[in-house]
Amino acid sequence: MSPLPRRRARKSRVAARAATAMALALGLAACSGAGPATQERTGIILGRAMDVTTLDISRSLCDTCQIYNAAVYESLLRATPEGSLEPLLAESWTANADNTQFTFTLRADAVFSDGSPVEAKDVEWSWERLKNLAGSPSYFMAGVSDVQAPDARTVVVTSELPNSAFFNIASAGYTGVINSDVAAQNGATADANAASTDQAEQWFLGNSAGSGQYVLDSYAEGTQLVLKRNDNYWGEAPNFTDVTIKEVTDSSAQLQQLQQGDIDVAMQLSFDALGQIENDPNLSTEVVPSFNFVYLALSPGKPGGEALQDPRVREAIRKSIDYTSAIDATVAGNGEKQATGIPNGFEGTEGLPLPEYDPEGAKALLAEAGYGGGLALQAVFPTFTIYGVNFATMMQSIQQSLQGVGIQLDLQPLEYQAWADRLAEGIPVTAVYFAPDHPDAIQYVQYFGLIEGSVWAERAGMPVNPQEQQLAVSALAQTGEQRTATYSQLAELMYNDAIILPVVNPKYLLASSADVTGNNLDITRNLDLTRIRFATG
């Protein structure tokens, strides 16, 4: 054999040995017990499917945004778990007699994360930007005609019409106050044409400018959102050095990671998981009521919905739904029935009749309306799961119930975009969901009621109900028991409209490692980080 092949052979052997050594090193590495640098367990990791589309508070509208906005920014008021309001950035607040002017006095000691004081000009700027951006949460400022800052600590808001809900609205995280100087330096503007001139959205993806307990540390879309303690926080010290919201897309993955200790809180566990973890000593679980709900929406005024123009047919559909079966099928029985588009527990809902499964009553109503031989309806709905409710499962359950009284529901599941497009055209029967933005019932009246500007009045193709319109206007001019009574009347009218038929008001499964206390579902914050903490921390 020539020397050349021998050299090649030697080289090959050397290469092979090097490769083997490398493989061994990697293998050893893989088995090595040495741990990498980790964040101390003074920080909490929340596992959830993040629905964040922006971190610009004035453009955001999502469940995860509620957590982020409340942690990083602060509103003037905050809603307590009991539903009342308490001071946050504002120490006092008053309204004029006809509820068209609202005056807030800011705390003197509140500062932004850069140490500069929170001033009335920041509130004025933030709320004007919120309105002028014409972004998803701009409706919080609907009807606000003027925001003034007569001095550094006074904010005066003027509304075109009476709006006694404004203080509740001012407790929503989306109305949080931005450090106007910092944001303006980075392309933000509150001008009237902000919708086309504001350039700050990308800046907000990497920076925050609030006065909350935390500041944005980093955001990697699809991976995690990390907040760290605001060292300049003016109030009570935050419970954690850092908060990580980790993208864990589905319930089973959240369960696995919670069991393995990779996350401290699993935020969207389905009730199927409850049996596996409720007796686990390392985990803590609690089932709590929520204000979320999933509903069937009927559109009598849209093509294909002609039969629904008869209120008896709509009432028959309400009576045809086997709510218990639907609640069992979707959330394993962990849900409640709900009367109308205003969730249980909100002002005006006390004493409302809950829907009952009454197939005989439904048949009688259908016969009375001339549909004794049955009718067919098209049901187009989005194919997703929200609040533990799988829409396909729910609609199949409803289809089965309705079949019992002679209503054939033609189910057409669609991807979200395609379904949303069909909404504009009008869908005779669809399924949607709703979660509250703030603790005032007016949000439901304005969205579901047959009043001017209502989204569902338009989608359903229904005319304005003058009585509802009048009551909605009256409610916003009232306060206290008088307003509660008006909301009750509105809720009854909305019940009789039978346009929105809530199917399930799902409960919420709080699940965390055993050393976490104060886990919660908050009405405006989704998860209130001021209440959750490590028991040993």
């Binding site: 090649r8 052979a9 090959s12 490769a19 990697l26 590495a29 893989a30 090595s32 040495a34 990498p36 640098a37 980790t38 964040q39 367990r41 920080g43 990791i45 589309t53 922006t54 610009d56 509208l61 999502c62 951006l133 014409a134 972004g135 998803s136 701009s138 409706y139 919708a195 086309s196 959205e201 990308q202 993806l205 990697a220 879309e221 699809g222 991976t223 990580t244 980790k246 993208e247 864990v248 897309t249 993955a253 696995q256 990671q257 069991q259 393995q260 200790g261 990779d262 996350i263 991807e415 979200y416 975009q417 395609a418 949303a420 497009d421 909404l423 504009a424 969205y447 989204v455 338009e458």
Partner: protein, 337 residues
């Protein structure tokens, strides 16, 4: 060869323009509107919000106008801004592409090294138990659905036995390395952080192994059959007659010839591996280009969809070029022209 490479490189911009144009037109050909993902279902009935969003994202412009604006921006290196993430598409891809490339690179190494070793072993042990086992493994690798294997492995090795790292690129509470290449293993080594490298590598192992399975099965089968074919050829018999051992003939002559078709398969598979990583990425919470592509498609995020297609096209073109070059290097009979 230089002329060949130069010619191929010169053709690339034209091909990429074609890819971008087709991707742009196809994504806009979908009848649905991306507004729902931009403003949300609740705001679709709000004309002010819809108008502002339509104008802001250029959806009020005609299709040709949108196309020319996109191409003009692209020529300046701007791939547009994602409707969904609100970040520049280029920045989004710069974060996600290294994650997928790292995963695919390790999967590729697994497929080539393990596949070749097992293929050679099966050929040498033809007809014996080892051969049978390897052939069954190859069959399973090619036929088992990746998502099923992924879920089973996660449940078994991570959730039940606790011997494997969980989803994600790093363990909980582990701080990522300073960003240099976007490959966590490489960045950890560059930072001199051995424990971090170990953590990143542990997280790579399971998804990369599962990702490699289909290609692994193919490589095993090709290497085995080629080895068997080449073993019976004249040059192998001659080498044996001249006194070389069977092992020397196999390792020095037969393997080299047997591996040539593997290069073709691997070359073709690289693009598919990277662009088809979505299932693995979803199961293992691996924030790569696959999940980005799917999420962007679901949101009808036109700039992101077109950006992914552009990057995917680049990957396929470069992989094919490298394959052709490698083929010529390994097999001197091949002349590039």
């Amino acid at each position: 060869m230089i002329r060949f490479v130069a010619k191929r490189l010169a053709l690339m911009p034209l091909l990429l323009w074609g890819i971008v144009t087709i991707a742009f037109l196809l994504s806009h050909a979908v009848a649905d509107n991306p507004l729902a993902s931009i403003v949300g279902e609740r705001n679709l009935g709000n004309p002010d919000v819809v108008r502002a969003a339509t104008e802001r994202w250029g959806l009020d412009k005609s299709l040709p106008e949108q196309y020319f604006v996109y191409i003009a921006n692209l020529l300046q290196g701007d791939m547009g801004t994602s409707f969904r993430t609100k970040a520049p598409v280029g920045a989004d891809l710069a974060v996600r592409l290294p994650a997928t490339l790292e995963l695919a690179a390790v999967a590729l190494v697994f497929a080539i090294v393990i596949g070749t070793l097992l293929g050679v072993l099966a050929a040498r042990m033809r007809g014996k138990l080892v051969d049978g086992v390897v052939r069954v493994l190859a069959l399973l690798g090619s036929s088992l659905p990746v998502f099923w294997v992924g879920l089973i492995f996660l449940f078994l090795f991570y959730a039940t036995l606790g011997v494997a790292a969980g989803p994600g690129r790093l363990s909980a509470r582990v701080i990522p390395p300073p960003d240099a290449t976007g490959f966590y293993t490489v960045d950890a080594l560059l930072a001199g952080d051995w424990p971090l490298f170990v953590d990143a590598f542990q997280h790579l192992l399971m998804p990369a192994l599962i990702m490699s399975l289909a290609l692994l099965g193919t490589v095993i089968r090709i290497v085995r059959s080629q080895m068997l074919e080449e073993q019976g050829s004249d040059y192998a018999r001659t080498a044996r007659a001249k006194g070389m051992t069977r092992g020397q003939v196999l390792n020095r002559h037969v393997l080299r010839n047997a591996i040539t078709p593997v290069i073709t398969i691997v070359g073709v598979s690289v693009g598919l591996l990277i662009m088809g990583a979505v299932l693995i990425e979803t199961i293992f919470s691996w924030n790569g280009i696959g999940t980005y592509a799917v999420e962007s498609s679901r949101a009808l995020d036109f700039p992101a969809i077109t950006g992914v297609c552009l990057v995917g096209g680049c990957i396929f073109l470069v992989a094919n070029l490298i394959t052709d070059i490698a083929y010529a290097v390994v097999d001197p009979r091949v002349r590039l022209s």
